[in-house]
């Protein structure tokens, strides 16, 4: 099984805050050891590896994770689900899970 973590650099050159949050959680929990490859999706550079992979997989959000297993590729765009279902971790704090839900569903902003 190969796990790829794709994080984004915004069009203005600044790092994606959400990607930084996820990176921090991966580091703090030691889950980063399970990540085989980290790719950058640089919005200023459509040929950056992360942008190419996103295009290949039809992914329109970042950060995201790709798990390749037995020739099959599966994508997760919600960290807490990825951590629970792939890494077998606990769900973590309810507020972290809520943050992931909000980031993945921007229409909930106005609830």
């Amino acid at each position: 099984m190969k796990i790829t973590f794709v994080k984004k650099i915004l069009a203005d050159g600044s790092p994606c805050r959400k990607c930084g949050d996820v990176q921090k959680r991966l580091d703090e929990t030691g889950q980063i050891e399970r990540i085989d490859e980290v790719l950058i999706a640089d919005e200023r550079d459509p040929t950056s590896p992360g942008m190419i992979l996103a295009s290949d997989l039809g992914v329109s959000r970042a950060p995201f994770f790709v798990v390749e297993d037995g020739g099959e590729r599966k994508v997760w765009t919600v960290y807490f689900k990825f951590a629970k279902e792939v890494l077998g971790g606990k769900e973590g704090k309810a507020s972290d899970a809520a943050r992931d839900i909000l980031d993945d569903n921007p229409d909930l902003d106005y609830i």
Binding site: K8, I52, A54, S55, V59, I101, D103, D107, Y110, I111
Partner: protein, 248 residues
């Protein structure tokens, strides 16, 4: 038998909001209406007319305008309905405030605070029902431009707990909502009279000018690039991709 969301979405696409509400309420034993304390009160009015048992809840973030709190009580009294207030987890709020103060959203973005004060209580509430009803409309923001009248709720469904989401006002415009409010003499939040179109928490909401979109009144200090997690892959030129793939 499980509710066929796709078929219902096609069948109800152009239906009147009252018909959508009736189907929602008759189709699920545990169903709840989310009321924000703003113009989605039209759904409360429609539900009251139906005379069916529907739970109504509101997310009380602790940071709403005093006018909104007064309005919630006014609606409760006007219709004689219970409105359940969902509160955020006290420990999570305390930790956020202890670490970052009371106005961290101006510096760090609104998502962290919204997740604690709105999304987590919403998730807690939705874990207890089979379906819910929202006042989401397509004209409210670009992120809602394609909201269907009924959908499987992928955000809050969980293994063994599918959740259906009804958006009866999806096709209505703001003008239609306000015409309904006027015609049916529905009580509305007094903030609307002071230029507020979209009403959320007090520190994160401001009135807008008549020509401005309601979205302009929320989180106005955040740059558009910081409001979303989208990858702007549409900017990728096919020729670049082909070149890189061939090089690889």
């Amino acid at each position: 038998m499980a509710y066929d969301v796709d078929t219902a979405a096609r069948r109800l696409e152009q239906a009147d909001p009252r018909d959508i509400l009736e189907e929602a309420v008759s189709g699920f034993d545990r169903i709840a209406l989310s009321f924000s304390g703003a113009e989605d009160v039209v759904l409360v009015d429609m539900v009251a007319d139906l005379g069916e048992e529907v739970e109504i809840f509101c997310l009380d973030t602790g940071r709403l305008h005093p006018e909104t709190y007064r309005y919630l009580d006014k609606v409760r009294d006007h219709y004689g309905l219970d409105i359940e207030l969902m509160f955020p987890d006290a420990e999570a709020v305390q930790q956020l405030v202890r670490e970052k103060g009371l106005f961290s959203f101006y510096r760090d973005g609104h998502q962290e605070c919204c997740a604690i004060r709105k999304i987590e209580p919403l998730r807690r509430k939705l874990a207890t029902v089979e379906a819910w009803i929202t006042g989401q409309r397509r004209d409210q923001s670009p992120t809602r431009a394609e909201v269907p009248v009924v959908q499987s709720d992928r955000a809050f469904s969980a293994p063994g707990h599918p959740l259906v989401k009804f958006n009866p006002l999806a096709n209505w415009s703001s003008d239609e909502v306000w015409a309904y409010i006027a015609e049916h003499q529905v009580p509305y939040n007094e903030l609307h009279q002071r230029g507020f179109k979209s009403i959320g928490c007090e520190p994160c909401t401001r009135p807008v000018a008549p020509h401005e979109h309601e979205r302009a009144g929320r989180w106005w200090w955040e740059a558009a690039t910081q409001k979303e997690c989208g990858l702007h892959v549409t900017n990728i030129r096919e020729a670049d991709i082909k070149h890189v793939r061939e090089s690889a």
